[in-house]
C-alpha cells in the first residue's frame, strides 16, 4: 500500500515537474503577424507566404482600449476583404492596452472571446483553434493580466501571449506558449544613440532570463519601419538585416528552442520589399 502511494506520489510529482518546468516543444514553423485594419493580400504578400512556407498568421482582430468612462472597449477592428491562402492557420490576436489591466474588469475575457467567435462566424473564418493576447503588462498590471488570461483559457482551447523582454524577469503567464517580441526594445527617447526598434545592446541584459524561462517560446523579429508621429512629423526607424540576424543568433544560442517557431512582424508589401529574400530566408532559418 505504502509502495503504491509512493509510486502514485512520484508519478504526480513527475507530471507536475513536466508541466511546470519542462515546456512542450514548439513546432517547427514559420509565421507572420498581420497588423493592418483590413485583411487584403496582394500578389506580393501571397507570394511571400508561399515562398517562405508560412503556415500561421497571427492576425490582429482588434485592440482593446479604455474609453473615457474607464471601460475597456474594442477599437480598430479589422475588416475582412480577403481570405488567407489554403493551409495557413489564422490566429486571432487581440492587443490590449496595459491600462485596461490596472484593475480587473469582470466579463472582459468572455466578451473578447465571444467577439472573436462572432467575427469568425460572420466572416466565414473556419478552423480557428488558438487565440493570442498581446499586452505590455508591467509589475503593476501583471497579476490582473494573468487572471484575465486564466479566464480566457476557459473559453479557448489554445492560448498564447506575447512576451516582451522586460517581462522575462517575471513569472511566466498561464498560457500554452509565448511569442518573444524582439522588437520595440529600446528607449524611444534615446533614438539618437540606439535604434528603438531593435538593438542587440538592449536585448543583451535580458538574455540571462532565457535559460530558465519556463514557458515554450517562439521568437518574433521586426521587419517593419517604425513610423512615429512627432509634432505632426513622421519619423522612421529601420533595422539593418545584420542587427536582426545577430540578435537571432544570440537568442538562439541561449535558447535553441527559439529557432523552431519563427515569426516576423509584420506582413506587408512594403516590409517584404524592404529586405532581400535572402534576409528573410536567414531569419526563417531553423
Amino acid at each position: 500500500m505504502i509502495r503504491r502511494l509512493l509510486l502514485t506520489f512520484l508519478t504526480v510529482m513527475l507530471l507536475c515537474a513536466c508541466s511546470d518546468n519542462m515546456p512542450e516543444e514548439m513546432a517547427e514553423q514559420n509565421a507572420v503577424y498581420y497588423w493592418r485594419t483590413e485583411l487584403r493580400l496582394d500578389s506580393t504578400e501571397r507570394a511571400f507566404l508561399a515562398q517562405h512556407h508560412i503556415n500561421k498568421v497571427y492576425c490582429r482582430y482588434f485592440d482593446v482600449v479604455m474609453d473615457d468612462d474607464g471601460n475597456p472597449v474594442p477599437n480598430a477592428t479589422i475588416t475582412f476583404s480577403d481570405t488567407l491562402p489554403a493551409g495557413i492557420e489564422l490566429v486571432p490576436t487581440v492587443y490590449i492596452t496595459e491600462d485596461c489591466m490596472h484593475q480587473p474588469h469582470p466579463g472582459l475575457a468572455e466578451k473578447i472571446v465571444k467577439r472573436i467567435q462572432q467575427m469568425n462566424e460572420t466572416n466565414d473564418i473556419l478552423n480557428v483553434r488558438e487565440i493570442q493576447m498581446d499586452c505590455d503588462y508591467t509589475a503593476r498590471s501583471r497579476q490582473t493580466y494573468y487572471d484575465f488570461l486564466k479566464e480566457i483559457t476557459h473559453h479557448s482551447s489554445l492560448l498564447s501571449t506575447t512576451i516582451r523582454l522586460h517581462q522575462l524577469s517575471m513569472a511566466p503567464p498561464p498560457v500554452d506558449y509565448g511569442v518573444l517580441m524582439l522588437y520595440n526594445t529600446g528607449d524611444p527617447r534615446k533614438f539618437m544613440e540606439r535604434n528603438p526598434v531593435l538593438d542587440k545592446r538592449d536585448v543583451q541584459p535580458y538574455l540571462r532570463h532565457l535559460d530558465d524561462y519556463s514557458l515554450p517560446l517562439a521568437a518574433a523579429y521586426p521587419v517593419y519601419l517604425w513610423v512615429r508621429n512627432i509634432n505632426g512629423v513622421r519619423v522612421e526607424h529601420f533595422v539593418e538585416p545584420d542587427e536582426i540576424l545577430q540578435v537571432k543568433q544570440a537568442v538562439e544560442k541561449k535558447r535553441p528552442e527559439l529557432r523552431r517557431t519563427i515569426v516576423t512582424y509584420h506582413l506587408d508589401k512594403e516590409n517584404i520589399n524592404r529586405y532581400k529574400p535572402e534576409t528573410y530566408e536567414e531569419i526563417y532559418h531553423h
Binding site: N75, D187, M192, Q204, L207, N231
Partner: protein, 675 residues
C-alpha cells in the same frame, strides 16, 4: 539640447515599458498659409448651428439628438421634418454600427438587415426631392449610396440632382461625397480639386501621400496656376524642407534620412526659383503665399538677408487673411533671428507677442509658432539676460519654465524672483511682468533645494525654513519621501516600495519639512566631522557618505535634490557631485584599522551607482564570433581598483568575509577574473 523633465513621477517609473511615450520638440511648422481646420469639423459646426436654430435654443449644441429634434418638429407640426429625422436616424444607426466599435460584432443577418435599411432609407429620400427639405433628403440619398458602396450612382446623382440644389452646408456635404465617389470611380484629378476647395486635407493627403515634390507642384502650377491644391502641396513641401533642415541641427537630432519626404537642398533651390517665377508671372491670385514660401526656404537654407528682404516684401502682397498672419509670424521669426539686441527690438517683440496672444487661443498654429520662436530664437537671444529669458518662458506658459528655474544658478533664480515682484521699466518688462505669478512656497523650496545641491547647508536651511511641511504632501514624490530613510546604507539595502504602493497610498502628511531636516542633519554632521579623530572620524565619514549616496540622483532619497527620477538622469550643472563626495568620505573611512568598518567602506566604494558608466570596472561588447556579448574589463577604472583592494582585503582575511561581500553578484563576477 534635448531634455525631458519628469513632471509625473509615475511616468518616470513606467517609462522604459512605454515605447510610445514621447516628449515635445520645438520644431513645429512655421509655414501655415491656410486654416488647417478640417472640412468635417467645419460642416459639423454649421449643422449644429442649424439644429440650434430649429430647436430655438441658445445652449451649446455638441451633437445631434434625434429625439429632441423630433419633439421640436412635432411641436411645430412639421411632419416632413419628423419623417426626415426618423430616416436620418436609421441611416445614422447604420453608419454608427459600421464605424463604431462595439462588443457585439454584427452577425450575417444583421449585416443583411443593415443593407435593407439603407436601401429603404434611400428609396424614402428619393421620394422627397421636391419637398421643402430637398437638400437634406438629397444628402441622405448620397449618404446611403456611399455606405452601400454605390459610388457610380452618386456621381450620376450629383450631376443630375445634387449640383442643382441651392448653396448650403448639405450641398457642400453632397459635393464632398461626390468628390469621394469621383475618386473611387477613377476621376482623381477632379476629386482633388474639390477636396482642396473644401479644405478636406485628410482626403487630399490620402491621394497625394506618395507624390509630393517640387516636380508635382510645378506640374500643378503649369496645369492650373490658381489650382486650389497648390497651397496644400506648397505647405507640405516647405514643411518637409523644414524637417530636413531641423534634422541637421540640434532641434531634430534625427540624423540621416528618416522622413517620408526628405527635401534636398537642390530641390529646395528649385522651389525658391519657381516661387520667384510664379510671383513674377503674376498669374497667381495669392503672390503672398509664394513669396512667403520663398522667404522661409531662403532663411532655412542660409540666405538670411535675402529672406528678411523677401518676407518684408511678402507682407505687402495680395493674400488671404491667414496668409497675412502667417507672413507676420515669419517676419517676426526671421527678424528676431537676425536683429541685434536693442531697445527697439525689445519694443517690437513686446508688440508682436501681444498680437500673438490674441491669436494663440483661437488657433494652435500661433501657439506652436510662438513655442518655436521662444525655444529656438529668443532663448539664445536672451542667453546673457537669464532673468528675461526665464520670465519669457513663464509669460508664455511654457512647460520648460520649470526646467529653466530648476537648472538655473541659484543667484540668477533669486534675481528672477525679485524681478517678478517688481514693476518694470520697458514695454517688454511690462509685458512680461503682467504674466508672472509665482508660488512662494515652490520658489522658497527651489532656492533652498539649489543650496542643498551645492551642499551650502546654512543657506538651504534659511530658505527651506520658510516652507511649511504641508507643501511636501502635494509633491509627486511625497510617497517616496514618507517611506524612505537617508540613514539606510544603499549598498546593503535598497528601499523599494511595495508593489502598488506608489499608486494606492493616500497623500502622506509630514510632521516636519523633510528637506529642512536633512539640511540640518548634514550641517551638523559636517561640522562635527573635523572635531573627531581616528576611528570615530572614520565611522562618521562612513555615515556621512551614506547620506550623500542616498541624496545622489541614483540614491533612494533622490527626492531631496530633485522633483522626479528618470533612468536618463545625470549630474546637472550647478549641483555638486554627491556621488563623488560619498566616495571621498568612504576613502577616509577605508583608512580604518577596524576590519569590519574597512570592509564595509571598501565594499561601499564598489557600489556601481557611484560611478559614471566610463568608470565602471567592466562593460559588455558584442563578439561576432561568439554570437554574444562578452565582458571586457577596464583595469584602470576607479571601480576596478576598489574591487581589487576589496578582493585583496578579503584574501588576507579569508575567514572574516562578510556575507554581503561574498554574496554580491558584482563582486562574484569580478572574482572570476581576479584571482
Amino acid at each position: 539640447m534635448k531634455r525631458f523633465i519628469i513632471i509625473s513621477l509615475l511616468a518616470a517609473v513606467v517609462l522604459p515599458a512605454k515605447p510610445c511615450l514621447w516628449f515635445d520638440t520645438y520644431n513645429s511648422y512655421l509655414f501655415s498659409p491656410y486654416d488647417p481646420q478640417e472640412f468635417r469639423d467645419r460642416v459639423e459646426s454649421i449643422t449644429d448651428d442649424n439644429w440650434k436654430v430649429y430647436l430655438n435654443t441658445d445652449e451649446q449644441y455638441f451633437w445631434f439628438n434625434a429625439e429632441d429634434a423630433i419633439k421640436a418638429a412635432q411641436k411645430k407640426n412639421d411632419q416632413l421634418m419628423v419623417s426626415y429625422i426618423q430616416n436620418l436616424q436609421k441611416y445614422l444607426k447604420c453608419s454608427d454600427e459600421k464605424q463604431r466599435e462595439q462588443w457585439d460584432y454584427p452577425t450575417k443577418q444583421q449585416l443583411a438587415e443593415r443593407q435593407k435599411t439603407l436601401l429603404s432609407v434611400r428609396t424614402y429620400a428619393q421620394g422627397k426631392l421636391k419637398t421643402r427639405l430637398r437638400s437634406q433628403h438629397a444628402l441622405l440619398v448620397m449618404r446611403c449610396n456611399m455606405l452601400l458602396g454605390r459610388h457610380a450612382d452618386n456621381v450620376t446623382f450629383w450631376n443630375t440632382t445634387g449640383s442643382n440644389m441651392i448653396e448650403s452646408v448639405y450641398r457642400d456635404m453632397m459635393r464632398n461625397i461626390y468628390a469621394g465617389a469621383l475618386y473611387h470611380t477613377g476621376s482623381e484629378d477632379a476629386a482633388t480639386q474639390i477636396f482642396a476647395e473644401q479644405g478636406d486635407w485628410k482626403s487630399l493627403m490620402t491621394i497625394y501621400y506618395k507624390r509630393r515634390s517640387y516636380a508635382a507642384i510645378r506640374q500643378e502650377y503649369l496645369h492650373r496656376p490658381d489650382s486650389p491644391v497648390l497651397p496644400f502641396l506648397l505647405k507640405d513641401f516647405v514643411n518637409n524642407a523644414q524637417e530636413a533642415i531641423d534634422a541637421q541641427g540640434n532641434e531634430g537630432e534625427f540624423g540621416g534620412k528618416l522622413f517620408i519626404r526628405n527635401i534636398s537642398k537642390a530641390e529646395a533651390s528649385q522651389m525658391i526659383a519657381l516661387a520667384a517665377q510664379v510671383v513674377k508671372e503674376g498669374k497667381t491670385p495669392v503672390p503672398m503665399l509664394w513669396q512667403s514660401a520663398k522667404a522661409w526656404l531662403e532663411f532655412m537654407y542660409g540666405q538670411q538677408r535675402q529672406a528678411a528682404t523677401d518676407i518684408l516684401a511678402a507682407t505687402k502682397m495680395e493674400g488671404t487673411e491667414r496668409m497675412k498672419d502667417n507672413a507676420r509670424v515669419l517676419l517676426l521669426y526671421i527678424t528676431a533671428a537676425q536683429a541685434p539686441a536693442s531697445q527697439d527690438f525689445d519694443n517690437y517683440l513686446a508688440d508682436e507677442l501681444t498680437w500673438l496672444d490674441t491669436k494663440v487661443t483661437k488657433d494652435r498654429f500661433f501657439l506652436a509658432a510662438r513655442d518655436r520662436l521662444t525655444h529656438q530664437v529668443l532663448n539664445k537671444k536672451y542667453a546673457n539676460r537669464p532673468t528675461i529669458n526665464v520670465a519669457l518662458f513663464k509669460a508664455l506658459a511654457d512647460g520648460d519654465w520649470q526646467y529653466y528655474v530648476d537648472t538655473m544658478r541659484v543667484e540668477n533664480l533669486k534675481t528672477y524672483i525679485n524681478y517678478a515682484s517688481g514693476s518694470g521699466k520697458t514695454a517688454l518688462d511690462r509685458y512680461l511682468l503682467s504674466r508672472q505669478q509665482l508660488d512662494r512656497n515652490a520658489m522658497n523650496d527651489l532656492v533652498g533645494t539649489k543650496y542643498m545641491r551645492l551642499c551650502q547647508w546654512q543657506q538651504a536651511i534659511d530658505w527651506l525654513s520658510k516652507v511649511p511641511a504641508s507643501f511636501y504632501s502635494t509633491k509627486g514624490y511625497a510617497v517616496y519621501a514618507a517611506k524612505r530613510r537617508w540613514t539606510v546604507e544603499p549598498w546593503l539595502k535598497r528601499q523599494w516600495l511595495k508593489e502598488g504602493e506608489e499608486w494606492s497610498d493616500p497623500k502622506p502628511s509630514f510632521r516636519a519639512n523633510p528637506k529642512l531636516e536633512f539640511a540640518r542633519e548634514m550641517q551638523k554632521m559636517e561640522a562635527e566631522k573635523n572635531m573627531l579623530t581616528g576611528q570615530a572620524q572614520q565611522q562618521h565619514c562612513y555615515d556621512l557618505a551614506v547620506r550623500y549616496a542616498q541624496a545622489h540622483y541614483t540614491g533612494d532619497c533622490w527626492f531631496l535634490m530633485r522633483d522626479g527620477k528618470s533612468i536618463c538622469d545625470t549630474l546637472r550643472v550647478n549641483e555638486s557631485d554627491l556621488g563623488k563626495k560619498a566616495l571621498q568620505l568612504l576613502r577616509q573611512a577605508c583608512l580604518a584599522t577596524d576590519f569590519k568598518l574597512r570592509e564595509k567602506a571598501l565594499f561601499a566604494m564598489t557600489y556601481g551607482y557611484l560611478y559614471a558608466e566610463k568608470d565602471a570596472w567592466c562593460y559588455s561588447e558584442w563578439d561576432s564570433s561568439a554570437a554574444d556579448f562578452v565582458v571586457k574589463e577596464r583595469r584602470q577604472s576607479p571601480q576596478y581598483k576598489v574591487l581589487t583592494a576589496l578582493a585583496d582585503l578579503e584574501n588576507q582575511n579569508a575567514t572574516r568575509t562578510s556575507q554581503y561581500v561574498s554574496r554580491c553578484d558584482n563582486y562574484i563576477q569580478f572574482r572570476k577574473s581576479y584571482k
